[in-house]
Every structure is written in C-alpha cells, then in structure tokens.
Amino acid sequence: MNSKNLTKQLAAKAGVLAGGVAVGALLAGTALAEPAVIYDLGGKFDKSFNEAAYNGATQWSEENGVEFLDLELQNDAQREQALRQFARRGANPIVVPGFSWGAALETVAPEFPDTNFAIIDMVVDAPNVRSVIFDEHTGSFLVGALAALKSETGQIGFVGGMDIPLIHKFFCGYAQGAQAVNPDIEVYENYTGTTPAAWNDPVTAGELAKAAYDRGADVVFAAAGGSGLGVLQAAADTGNFAIGVDSNQNYIQPGSVLTSMVKRVDVAVADAFSDQMNGEWTSGLQIMGLGNDGVGYSLDEYNADLVTEEMMATVADLNAKIQSGEIVVHDYTTDSTCPGF
C-alpha cells in the first residue's frame, strides 16, 4: 500500500468517526420521544406473547406514522442495561412485556423519573410505571363455557403448565365457566410439572391430554406455554378438541382447536403508546379485562365450523353478565382457593 492511499483511507476513517460523533450529538440533543418495546427472552416472533407485543406496536406505528424502537434480548443479564440504554436515548414510554422484567424495572425506573415505563403481567410499584394485569379468569370463564357447550360427554379437561397460582387462576375461571352452562360437568385438572421445564414439555402435556381424552373428555384447555402444542397435537391425533391460549392458536391444528383464550397484549402496548402521545399517561395498575377487550376468545376462519350461532349467543350473554356484575368470576389469586373445585 503506498502512502497516498493510506492517507486517503485515514481521512475517510476520520470522516466516518466525525459523522458518528455528530449523529450521536444529534440524538442526545433532540431527545427523541419515540416509544419503545423490549421483548422478553422468547424473542420477537415467538408466535405468542412477544409477537403480540410486536404486532400491537407495529400496528400503532402504521396508524400514527410514528416509528418505534425495539430490541430482542439475548440473555437475562442484559435486562437492566437495555432499559438504561433506551431511557438514556430518550425513548418514552418503554414497554416491557413479561413478568421476568419485574426486578430489572424496579431498579431502573427510579433512575429515570421523567421516563414512563409499562410492564405487562407484573406489578411494579413506582410513580412512573404502569403495571398491566390481565383478567385471565374471566377470559377462561368464557372458553370454559364454550368447552362445556361443545362437549358431548359432559367431561372436559385442563392441562396447565407449571403448577403456580397464575395457572390455577386460568383453571378456576375455566371450571366456573363450564359449570355455569352445565352444572353436572366434570372437569379434569392436570399440571405438566412443578418446575419451569413444564413450559417446554409437549410430551408430558400431550400424554396428560390423551389421558383426559381416554377418560371421556372431548375438549381440553391448554394453559401451558410451549407445552400446549403437545395438547393441540393430541387433540388432532385423537379427533377431539383443544383450546389454545395467549395468542390466537386456532390455525395451528385447524379443525381441532375449538377456540383460544386470547390475552390482548397488542392492545396493552398500543394503549401505552397512544396514552403517552396524547398526554394521557397514567401510572399504576391497569386491568385488562372483558370490558376493554383485554381478554377474550378468538373466532376466525379456522374454527368457524366448530362454534355454532347458539354457542356464540350463550357466551355473549355470559360476557354481558360478567361485565354488568351479575356474574362474579372468582379470582384464584385473591385467596388461593377455587370454591366448588
């Protein structure tokens, strides 16, 4: 390499460096108020929880013509670092979906009092944090009613993931819903395991579902994360029905998935973005229930033939009664009991 070339290269490099510094200064100076999402470890396209957050943010961005920032984590250690990085860059609000964010947010939120944060599925008590909690029990109540209406044998099943209070909340709502339309219904309650491995064990979950089908159940609700796929598969293999969870999973085994108990994480994310943009931000607890479309059951072309008009009418009626307060669905997590089961 001759010296002339070298000089040129050095000059070019210096230019790039200078440009980088300038851009950095610009970013710091303007303090972009772009909203941001930082996904949990499952990744942006996990076909479930995180993807729902991504969809909500993308749709909001298209509707409002405002860009948003997002980031996928590679490991647990990055949580606090990622939050600080986004807050320093001026992102506002910062939405983090998933209860695993709790500890990191508790540390970082007080360091940036002027930034608003939202956490989904977890409560963090800080003046600039909105904690979004879903009424899983009422959504489960409605799919339980659908299951009982669909069942010809009068027996239905439930396969939970890890045996924790949150999953008992799903079961308790489901069983109450089934009992509301058929007082003699039999509900088989099963859990895949007692460790976090229970979220990724489709084999055991599938066997639990098969056991329920063998005993006479014809609809099984899978509230089991990745393990739930084993339940949907078992339903397809044995010619019975399953109910999906979190995202709309009707398409995974078309014709075998009666419906899915959806948690509208996308709505929660879009709401947070909109509230900040319109200056209507509220911190504190936000409950996503039937009334504000936070939870519900999914209907699409994959289960149109499985759910009759009559079933829909009954469930719509129950939905109205829950919202008006005529029916009170017991929440397992309030007292760790499920009356009647």
């Binding site: 470890l41 499952g42 990744g43 942006k44 396209f45 996990d46 076909k47 479930s48 995180n50 045996d163 088989y188 309650e189 099963n190 859990y191 395991g193 007692t194 491995a197 990724n200 064990d201 489709p202 084999v203 055991t204 599938g206 066997e207 639990l208 098969k210 056991a211 063998d214 005993r215 006479g216 990745g226 393990s227 796929l229 084993g230 598969q233 293999d237 995974i252």
Partner: protein
C-alpha cells in the same frame, strides 16, 4: 370405562413414554460396553430431535427427517469420540460439553432460522411418523381382553416404537452372540487383551460410539417428528439421564434394560394418569405427591433391590498402547 380398559390405556401410554428411554439406554449400552462412558445421551437426543425437525419441516419427508436426526446425532457422537478416544480426554467432561452444546446450539440455530424463540414449527403432512394400524386391529377390537390388548396396546403406534422394541433382541444378539459383540465387550473389560489379539481397540470404540449416535438419533427423531410434532427448546426434558440410570439399574444388559426402561415409562404414565383421579380409601392425592412418585420409587428400587452394579472394568479409561 372399566378398570381393565383404563389399565390397557395406561400401558399404552407407558409404551409411548418408554420408547425414547429404551433407545437411549441401548445406545448407552453399546458405548459403555466398549469402555466409553456417555453422559451425553441427552445432548445427542436433543441434537437429533432438532435435526430431524428441521429437515422434516423443509422436505416434508419423515424418512429424510429421521436420517437427518441420525446424521446430526452421529456427528455429536463423533465429537465425543474424538475427544475421548483419540485425544484421551475425560469422558465425563466431554459428555457434559455435548449436553451444553446441543442445548445451546439447537436454540441458537432454531432462533436464527425460524425466529420462534428457538422453536421449530410442525412439519407439513408426511413429515411426521403417524400411527400404524396393524392388520385386523379394527375387526378384533370387540373380542374381549385379547382383542382390546391387540387393538389398543399392540396396534396403533408409529414405526419407531416397533423399531425401538425390536432393538432389544437385536442388541442382545449383537452384543452376546457375535464376534463383534465379543470384541466390543472385551474392549470395555480388558482392552489390552483385545489389542494383543491384533484388534484395534480405538476402532472398536469408534464403532460403538457411532452405533450410539444412530440410536440416540432415532430417539431424537421420535421426540420431534413422531411423539410430538416440531422441536421445542430442551424438549428431551432429562430423559437421557433417566436412560442412564436405567442402564446402571439394568447392569448394562439389554433385556434388563427393557425392564428398567419400561418401569420408568410405566411410573411416568402412572403419575400422568393418576393426577386428579380418586383412589379408594385415600381419596384424591395432591398433584405434587403423584409427580414425586416415580422419583421416590426409583430411589427405593435403586437403593434396595438391584444389589451392586459394576460397570465395564475399563470404562472411562482411554486406551494407551504400551510401547
């Protein structure tokens, strides 16, 4: 449902749960009989499951998926082989490394290729081993007892289940009735004698390790494209370690391995079927107690009933030719 039918259903479930244990256990038998300890069964199964799921998804062909599973698993087995045979490394450490490598690599590649949090989606139709109905199963279903056993228990599994059970007599024959088997066992008991007879000990051990790879590959394919469909992070859920326990329990013998694996499979099925059912006198047993049952029984059986289990004498020791 009467008690007999529900018992048959439980045995049916136990059969499905036994298959991966049995394949992994027999896989370990070949390796350990030749003198190579293998605690990497879990990792090889996981890698096999991942390879099978990927290829079955892309090609839509279950046989290509199975071949890919076996191929990936053999590759992992050879890593273990090179480390512990050629380079005389510590076999336990190499096995642990295989387990970590498989868990990390499958999630990493799965996330990069399919962007679903490390999951591999379900293969299309034709990419999964479906249940086979044996001849006359439907006609015989109504025959009391024997008909039920035939139609519900023996018929209606996928081909890999039958392969797994067929591997038991095959393994017994290969290990105890062939020249290859004699040399294999001798490599694990007294490699110096094998060497004196003019047989290459390291080559024997490599062969054994490759057979281990084939069997764990089939077990992996069973996980991702037969029993379930699609790959999920760490879906083997510790079955490789249970297979290892079964191997010790069976004192490195194939028929006893079948017994031990079926016992573990049966206990697993029992805990699945007993959840939420009312037992006479006791009433409904809490889920946690039922789930602990297989482990409690394992401890009792291992501690009290099998006596002393002594592995192959030269197991875990790399063979060094004396000059």
């Amino acid at each position: 449902m009467d008690a007999f039918t529900s018992f048959i259903f439980m045995l049916d479930s136990a059969t499905r749960l036994t298959v991966p244990l049995l394949l992994a256990c027999l896989a370990g038998l070949y390796s350990e009989r030749s003198g190579i300890f293998d605690i990497g069964l879990e990792g090889k199964m996981l890698a096999g499951a991942f390879g099978a799921a990927c290829v079955a998804l892309i090609t839509g062909n279950m046989w290509l998926g199975l071949l890919a599973g076996i191929g990936v698993s053999i590759a992992m087995a050879l890593v273990h082989g090179v480390a512990s045979i050629t380079f005389r490394g510590n076999q336990i450490i190499s096995g642990v490394a295989i387990n970590f490598l498989a868990a990390g690599l499958s999630t990493f590649l799965g996330q990069n290729w399919f962007s679903q949090g490390g999951r591999v989606p379900s293969p299309p139709a034709g990419g999964r081993f479906d249940a086979i109905t044996l001849p006359f199963a439907d006609q015989l279903r109504e025959v009391p007892i024997l008909g039920t056993i035939y139609a519900e228990l023996i018929s209606g599994h996928n081909i890999l289940v039958y392969i797994a059970f067929a591997m038991v007599p095959i393994t017994w024959y290969v290990v105890f009735r062939t020249r290859f088997g004699l040399r294999l066992r001798a490599s694990g008991e007294n490699p110096k004698a094998v060497d004196t007879a003019g047989i290459n000990v390291n080559l024997m051990r490599y062969r054994a390790v490759i057979i281990t790879g084939v069997l764990t590959g089939i077990a992996g394919a069973y996980f991702s494209i037969a029993q379930s469909s699609g790959f999920i992070n760490n879906m083997t859920a510790g079955k490789g370690f249970i297979a290892l326990a079964a191997l010790i329990f069976a004192k490195w013998r194939p028929w006893q391995a079948l017994g031990a694996c079926f016992l573990f499979g049966f206990l697993d099925a029992l805990q699945i079927r007993m959840q939420g059912t009312e037992l006479p006198i006791i009433g409904e047993v809490p889920v946690q107690a039922i789930q602990a049952l297989p482990y409690i029984l394992t401890v009792i059986l291992l501690a009290g009933f099998i006596g002393k289990a002594v592995g192959p004498k030269a197991g875990g020791v790399p063979y060094v030719k004396e000059r």
